[in-house]
């Protein structure tokens, strides 16, 4: 009972918004397939950006309102790419190439700035975002066309100075990442794996510390897998760019079962004593149960309706893995130390300032890529508006997921995106049903975004206060 109470208290933010979501879905009476479809689009569109917030939280710099600056870097690149007329995945790659150095530079600047105002990073980031927006407007409204000669009727205001309010990305960058077929990804991944293991083997030979037989296995397996993609059935399946949700779910559950059986087998072979069978068996049971759930009619309907853009989702998964991998390096551990106590970090010989700057560079760059993903999915580029709300929306989503200024995880980010955007999707319809006025629902959306930040910050402050009182009492 006590445990249950603690569980509820620790997750009260998530629970509150979960209930709110259910209530809103119920009132809105939108078809579930519509909500699910929209939701999966929005996860793909916004997930990356929210995940970009995690590292600064880790490094003790709070919620990074400065990701707006990363978004600006992306938008500068998008403008030039469109202007030069590159399209499709070529255009997307060019955007990446252009925007990344800009984002790294911006991140470095922001990091240096934050180091000068330790403890006030959040408000600094917010104001810095507004300031950067001013410079951005100067650049797009006056410098482009006014100083840098740019001639393009589609992009430039008829006077010849300044960029138009909206740029249509249909036909050039729209879906340029979403539409990359699975086949390409598989081939790229295999090629990367092969190259990496080759380098590892060479390095092992040169430095005389062989990195084990694993690299050899990978090097051998990659070409075989590559050959398999030429089998017509596989080729046909992989050449699509969208994956039916049903297939995605089933293959995910399948992977769980395979992985757990592999764990059992490998541990049996190594005869590790402390290994218990219960955990993997529970996981496998859950996976089987999940498979059975797909036969329930409404669930099946959703699963058969929704198609997810594989490449974009893979990017999000890769970012989650990246965050996890970073945590396991010295750099990640240094960031955590700096985040927990700068005094201790200093005494342990960690360069606090550099670590913080690196955290900002990573976050800004990721935010920049996140904005690229967002723009290519949404398909219209609102020149002066696309970046302004980025910080607030991403942060609201993260907070709804149960994260706080001091602690955030990938899981919280994903849960947050799901809850926040569900509310966002159903709010207008719920408003219409309740008050007979869609406009009210529209207001409700905005109210939700800002209200969420205020409410969850307040709830976390409340939770924190309860905690800080405890140790004091112990000391008397």
């Amino acid at each position: 009972m006590h445990k249950l109470k603690e569980l509820v208290l620790n997750n009260k933010v998530v629970l509150l918004f979960g209930l709110l979501c259910i209530a809103a879905i119920y009132t809105a009476q939108n078809p579930l397939t519509f909500v699910a479809g929209e939701l999966f689009t929005r996860i793909g569109r916004n997930g990356f950006m929210v995940l970009a917030l995690l590292i600064p939280v880790l490094a003790g710099m709070g919620l990074n309102f400065g990701i707006v600056i990363g978004a600006i870097a992306a938008q500068i690149a998008v403008f030039w790419t469109v202007y030069w007329g590159y399209t499709g995945s070529e255009g997307f790659l060019l955007c990446l190439l252009l925007s990344t150095p800009i984002a790294i530079f911006f991140g470095w600047l922001v990091g240096r700035m934050f180091n000068k105002m330790k403890g006030a990073e959040m408000i600094a980031g917010l104001v810095l975002g507004y300031f950067a927006d001013g410079l951005y407007q100067l650049f797009f409204l006056y410098i482009i066309g006014g100083i840098i000669p740019v001639y393009n009727e589609r992009l430039i205001i008829s006077g010849g100075i300044g960029v138009k309010n909206t740029i249509d990305l249909t036909g050039n960058l729209k879906y340029s990442l979403d539409n990359v077929p699975m086949l390409h990804i598989v081939k790229i991944v295999l090629a990367v794996l092969a190259v990496v293991s080759l380098i590892k083997i060479i390095l092992g030979v040169v430095k005389k510390n062989p990195l084990g037989h694993r690299s050899w296995i990978v090097l051998g397996a990659a070409p075989i897998a590559y050959a398999l993609t030429f089998v017509p059935a596989i080729k046909e399946y992989l050449s699509s760019d969208r994956l039916l949700l049903l297939h995605a779910v089933l293959s995910g559950l399948g992977a769980v079962i395979v992985w757990q059986s592999w764990l059992i087998v490998s541990n049996k072979i190594r005869r590790r004593k402390e290994y218990s069978l219960i955990r993997p068996l529970v996981y496998m049971a859950i996976a089987v149960g999940g498979c059975l759930l797909t036969y329930i009619k409404p669930v099946e309907k959703i699963l058969l309706y929704v198609k997810i853009p594989v490449t974009t989702y893979l990017c999000i998964v890769a970012l989650c893995l990246f965050n996890a991998a970073l945590l396991r390096t010295r750099l990640g551990q240094n960031m955590r130390t700096v985040g927990q106590s700068q005094t201790v970090a200093n005494a342990a010989g960690i360069n606090v300032d550099t670590t913080r700057i690196i955290a900002m560079i990573i976050s800004t760059t990721l935010a920049c890529w996140g904005q690229l993903i967002y723009l290519q999915n949404i398909g219209t580029f609102s020149t002066y508006g696309a970046h302004t709300q980025v910080g607030q929306y991403a942060i609201a989503a993260l907070l709804v997921g149960g994260a706080s200024v001091k602690k955030a995880s990938s899981k919280q980010a994903v849960i947050g995106v799901i809850l926040f955007h569900t509310l966002f999707i159903v709010a207008p319809q719920a408003g219409k049903q309740l008050f007979n006025n869609a406009q009210l629902g529209e207001y409700f959306r905005v109210f939700v975004a800002y209200g969420v930040i205020a409410v969850s910050l307040a709830m976390h402050a409340w939770k924190d206060r309860g905690k800080t009182k405890e140790p004091n009492r112990n000391r008397v």
């Binding site: 380098i199 750099l331 551990q333 130390t337 201790v344 005494a347 010989g349 000391r475």
Partner: protein
């Protein structure tokens, strides 16, 4: 036998802004020796350690004179990481641990074991993967070495205070090539049994030929565990000797030492009244760093009562607790009436005025005029200096101005006039304003905390003499809390020495030095 000493700090002198805090101090420690370093607050112990560790505060204030030798070789230590490289480690008094990290992570902080990965070989060493298993094994080994049976994977936040100290020690031990360990008042926050255990571990470490500098004020521990002892007083080395050649009383006497000058010329008058002005019973205060753990005191009317003791022992907590600035428990009565401890301002309403040790933080409004500073407490507590128009109350400007002018004259506050901003006054004059404000309340009991901290000798004398006058002429009961024993001894009728949050002893001002020394170290 040239390199007999592992550490040899020769003729160290240090000046902070013209104020000599160390005068030709020599500190020598042999390998495997536990060397105690004792002295009052401000004797120069921390400055000496800061020099040893190359703390930035030393370099930033003009460096120091003298030489540091390690194993007979002269070395320059101008940054903390150099000290670490020479094998010098420190177990801090306030824990340098991260509560949200596990024991392993804390032991290994900044020195994580890691394996090279592909990216780290291409980019930077910082990207090496952590070898969590090896880290846990190392931590386990260090913990075993000091005989601590805790799991290396628990969070430090959940550990009892005593264990945290041991984690710090484990961290220092885990550093390779550690030669000298400094323990900075390690037993201050520990219970008796924990302290016992820690000191045994210290002996164990010393047996491995690691030299130990043991900073403490508990002379009993020095006698039992240390091999040799250096006594510092006022920045000078008074004595260095083997512990077996000396006695606790001798050390205590040397630590305090009767200082030649007296701050005031007159002596307090005879105490006649027997009425109890302020009575504390089983008084506890939860003030971080200055915990009060159960105090019984009776202070008579018309008495100047001194409260002394080393910093961190709880003497400041008493006053802050009475005034309601920190939460407290127990019974406080003023002239027989019990105070409501939960209510902020209860003490003020009962005629107790307080001059805080934290002048700038709690005591004064630095951006306001002298006049406002003098009257604001009186306005809020007693509704003085107000014109009462029933519906609203207005500030009585002329009355306040007149009062300010009177106080300025009375206390000789050096200023351009009552309207001068307080922030532009010198420390001594600010202190006088603090005092004047407390007096504006016409208190029956005045509590003055560290009245002479940070002010020059001339102002010091003036403030103390004024306090004496208040007592002898107006019969005001005054409680002075001070780290400067000399000050208390030249002013007070009785002096209570606080150690470990409790009253160690109540003494007459002319009791021998050794008695004071022993009381301060909790014996």
């Amino acid at each position: 036998m040239k390199t007999q000493f592992l550490l040899n700090m020769k003729d160290i002198s240090k000046e902070y802004f013209g104020n000599r805090v160390l005068k030709n101090v020599t500190l020598q420690v042999k390998p495997g020796e536990i060397h105690a370093l004792v002295g009052e607050n401000g004797a120069g112990k921390s400055t000496l350690m800061n020099i040893l560790f190359g703390m930035p505060v030393i370099g930033g204030t003009g460096g120091f004179e003298g030489e540091v030798e390690i194993n007979g070789e002269p070395v320059t230590i101008d940054a903390p990481h150099k000290a670490i490289d020479f094998g010098i480690g420190m177990v801090h008094q306030e824990f340098m641990l991260i509560p949200g990290f596990t024991v392993t992570e804390n032991i290994k902080v900044g020195r994580e074991t890691s394996r090279p990965s592909l990216l780290s070989q291409i980019l930077s060493k910082e990207l090496e993967t952590l070898d969590l298993e090896q880290m846990a094994a190392d931590a386990r080994k260090a913990l075993n070495e000091i005989g601590l049976n805790i799991e290396e994977y628990v969070l430090v936040a959940g550990l009892p205070v005593g264990y945290k100290q041991f984690v710090e020690i484990a961290r220092e031990i885990d550093k390779t090539g550690i030669k000298l360990l400094v323990f900075d008042e390690p037993t201050a926050v520990l219970t008796e049994s924990e302290a016992e255990r820690l000191l045994k571990i210290m002996k164990l470490i010393a047996q491995k030929d690691i030299a130990i500098i043991f900073i403490t004020h508990r002379l009993g521990e020095v006698m039992r565990y240390a091999d040799s002892v250096s006594v510092l007083r006022d920045g000078e080395l008074i004595m260095r000797t083997a512990v077996k050649d000396t006695s606790m009383v001798k050390i205590a006497e040397l630590m305090i030492g009767r200082k030649a000058q007296k701050y005031v010329d007159s002596v307090p008058g005879r105490l006649e009244s027997e009425e109890i002005a302020l009575s504390l019973q089983d008084f506890h205060v939860d003030m971080p760093g200055e915990m009060v753990r159960g105090i019984d005191l009776d202070i008579r009317q018309g008495e100047i009562f001194g409260i002394g003791g080393l910093s961190g022992q709880g003497k400041l907590g008493i006053a802050n607790g009475i005034m309601g600035l920190y939460s407290s428990q127990g019974k406080v009565s003023v002239f027989g009436r019990e105070l409501d401890l939960g209510k902020l301002g209860a003490a003020l309403a009962n005629g107790i005025a307080f001059v805080s040790e934290d002048r700038r933080g709690v005591g004064l409004l630095l951006d306001q005029s002298i006049e406002h500073n003098l009257v604001f407490s009186a306005i809020h507590i007693q509704e003085e200096f107000l014109i009462n128009l029933k519906l609203l109350k207005l500030y009585h400007r002329s009355k306040a101005r007149k009062h300010a002018q009177k106080m300025i004259k009375l206390l000789d506050i050096r200023c351009t006039g009552p309207a001068q901003k307080l922030g532009s006054l010198s420390g001594g004059n600010q202190q006088k304003v603090c005092l004047a404000r407390a007096l504006t309340l016409n208190p029956k009991i005045l509590i003055v905390s560290e009245p002479t901290r940070g002010i020059d000798i001339g102002a010091k004398k003036l403030v103390l003499e004024y306090l004496l006058n208040l007592n002898s002429q107006q019969g005001m009961t005054i409680i002075i809390i001070s780290s400067e024993l000399v000050e208390l001894r030249s002013l007070c009728h009785r002096i209570a020495i606080i150690a470990d949050g409790k009253v160690a002893r109540i003494m007459e001002p002319d009791a021998p030095d050794a008695e004071f020394g022993l009381a301060m170290s909790g014996n």
